[in-house]
């Protein structure tokens, strides 16, 4: 991506808004100890501080902008710390799937014989597997943890990247600059790494932006079913799950993480759309 591409993304209203929301979420996650009350699992006098509605101050003089849950824990603090888990898991899972996808896709395009055909067939096969069924199985079978969720999401999300990279590498390989490099005597694997792959990564960026939103949503889904990040560590998914039991007394417990989740996923989609338009000259808006 060139600097001009980035400028186009930022000038696109969708790109600017999506990027701003994502940036805000990342900053909140990184600065969680600074912007919140500190310990996300802190409980004081549970009976006196539980189910406080948003914008109240409890008996200890602590202000709760988003209220407290049934253990008297501050919802805003848990939301900020939960952002670390949710964004981190989503980001790392997409990173893993991009890595696998690039390797498989590039390998399939490089060795065109039976190896490439086998890799492509395997990709198509994996693409046809019902992802949530696999997630349920993998997530339920081992001890749930953030690491497991990252691995499971990464292992079930690489196929579309592999196909994108494969197609892109194949079309780039026919371009004059690749022929020129080969004619100059550059070894083929170096041509692949230094000349083709960097150019092939552009559509991967778009798919990664869209994939992060999806991964965050699936992480929350697994945590919601109790198969992901385990309480008391906050993640947006298990916060929604715990808020489910207190929907009548304290609707804000389930509402706040859901709103945050939707905002981040929408931001990823908007950014992905803007990136796509910026990188594809035929879709560029006048």
């Amino acid at each position: 991506m060139t600097r001009a591409d980035w400028r186009r993304v930022v000038r696109d209203r969708r790109g600017a808004l999506g990027g701003a929301v994502l940036l805000l979420a990342v900053i909140t996650a990184l600065a969680a100890p600074l912007v919140s009350a500190g310990d996300p699992a802190a409980q004081r006098d549970v009976v006196a501080t539980r189910f406080l509605s948003p914008l109240t101050t409890d008996g200890h003089g602590v202000f709760h902008p988003l209220g407290t849950d049934r253990f008297g824990r501050d919802v805003w603090t848990r939301l900020a710390y939960g952002a670390r888990i949710s964004l981190g898991v989503g980001g790392l899972a997409v990173l893993l799937s991009v890595l696998i996808g690039v390797v498989v896709g590039a390998a399939a395009a490089y060795w065109r014989g039976p190896v490439g055909a086998a890799l492509l067939a395997f990709t198509d096969f994996a693409l046809a597997l019902p992802r949530v069924v696999l997630l349920l199985l993998l997530g339920a079978l081992w001890r749930p943890s953030a690491l497991l969720v990252i691995v499971v999401l990464g292992l079930t999300g690489w196929m579309s990247v592999a196909r994108l990279v494969h197609g892109e590498v194949r079309s780039l390989a026919a371009r004059p600059f690749v022929e020129a490099a080969l004619a100059l005597g550059v070894p083929p694997d170096r041509v692949l790494r230094r000349h083709i792959l960097p150019n092939a990564l552009t559509p991967v960026i778009v798919s990664a932006a869209l994939g992060i939103g999806n991964a965050i949503m699936l992480e929350a889904g697994l945590s919601f079913l109790g198969l992901g990040v385990q309480p008391p560590t906050p993640s947006w998914g298990n916060m929604i799950a715990s808020g489910r039991d207190t929907l009548v007394n304290a609707p804000w417990v389930a509402t706040a993480p859901g709103v945050a989740l939707v905002a981040v996923v929408v931001a990823c989609t908007l950014l992905g759309d803007a990136l796509q338009d910026a990188l594809d000259p035929t879709r560029r808006r006048p």
Partner: protein, 324 residues
């Protein structure tokens, strides 16, 4: 066309076989044992061993796998380890509930989605943007959370609709009209949840497809011929946009099914997804195997039906010219 279809059917069978094999060995790989969960911590090692032998779980893995395949093919799906009930009966209750929920939400979300997408493709930029914001947001809503929010509003606040199950406690005593109303009231929230999310995806896609088609030269030609704009839109643009849309319809079945897993969990909807979640937790091997196989078959069948529909819609593909 027939050859291509046969090829797709073979691929589909391979996918189902792959899912089955993968599930079988993953289940065995994982820690946790159905017998230990069944008998509880107080069971002696001898009791566990005896129960394992009775269930045939002490045999070598390959033998169990081949035996399972043979029995499954003959229609003997075994008994649930956790409840002792025949798996076939268990799933025969669950499949119609899931098909009802997923099928209806598919129809609803595509009808509304095509309408919204078509409006967007022809609307002024302002309305288009407003609708885009709406559809992006709908698309980003996690089903389980949207479900909870709907429950909060329509069950707890407004007290209009029930939040759990597919029928009321007194459903067996109701007859005719009252029973139908009870059923529809229970269906309303889970269906709305799934359909709203589906509308987001469908509308976004339809808008894109219609815009792509509208830029084609044949549309300009139709306009230049002086055809009325609604006719160009319906007969030329929409019809050609339907081809990718129908493909997407088949491809969105897995997504809808996975959405249904979460939505069924929220609304205690007695479908395959909920059975699967329960069975995985209990390491109920026969139920997990059968439920996974059925969902894989549903997904593969959905894709095949979509291929057939595309061929029916598009003469180029029907006559084998459209092979890309």
């Amino acid at each position: 066309m027939l050859a291509a279809l046969a090829r797709r059917a073979v691929t589909g069978l391979a996918v189902v076989a792959g899912v089955v094999t993968l599930t079988f060995f993953l289940l065995q790989l994982a820690p946790g044992d159905p017998v230990e969960r069944l008998l509880g911590p107080a069971a002696t090692p001898e009791q566990v061993l005896a129960q394992r032998r009775a269930l045939g779980l002490d045999r070598p893995l390959m033998v169990q796998y081949v035996a399972w395949l043979g029995q499954f093919a003959r229609g003997d799906w075994g008994r649930s380890i956790a409840t002792g009930r025949p798996v076939l009966g268990l799933l025969a209750e669950a499949v119609p509930a899931t098909v009802e929920l997923v099928g209806l939400s598919l129809v609803a979300s595509y009808l509304v989605g095509i309408l919204v997408g078509a409006i967007q493709a022809t609307a002024r930029p302002r309305l288009d943007t407003a609708l885009s914001v709406t559809t992006v947001t709908l698309f980003a809503l996690p089903g389980y959370w949207l479900g909870l929010m709907l429950v909060m509003v329509f069950t707890y606040w407004a007290r209009w609709l029930p939040a759990f199950g597919a029928a009321g406690l007194d459903a067996d005593l109701l007859t005719g009209w009252a029973r139908l109303v009870d059923r529809l009231r229970h269906l309303a929230l889970p269906l709305t949840t799934l359909a709203l999310i589906g509308v987001g995806g469908a509308a976004r896609f339809v808008r894109g497809a219609m815009r792509d088609v509208r830029a084609q030269p044949f549309v300009t030609a139709a306009q230049a011929k002086g055809l009325a704009p609604p006719r160009v839109l319906l007969r030329h643009v929409l019809r050609n946009s339907l081809i990718p849309i129908v493909t997407l319809l088949g491809l969105s079945l897995p997504a809808l099914f996975s959405g249904a897993v979460f939505v069924e969990a929220v609304f205690a909807w007695p479908g395959v997804g909920r059975k699967l979640v329960e069975a995985v937790g209990a390491r109920d091997y026969p139920v997990v195997m059968a439920a996974t196989t059925i969902s894989a078959m549903l997904v593969v069948a959905g894709n095949l039906v979509a291929d057939l529909a595309v061929a029916w819609l598009d003469p180029r593909i029907r006559h084998g010219e459209g092979d890309r």
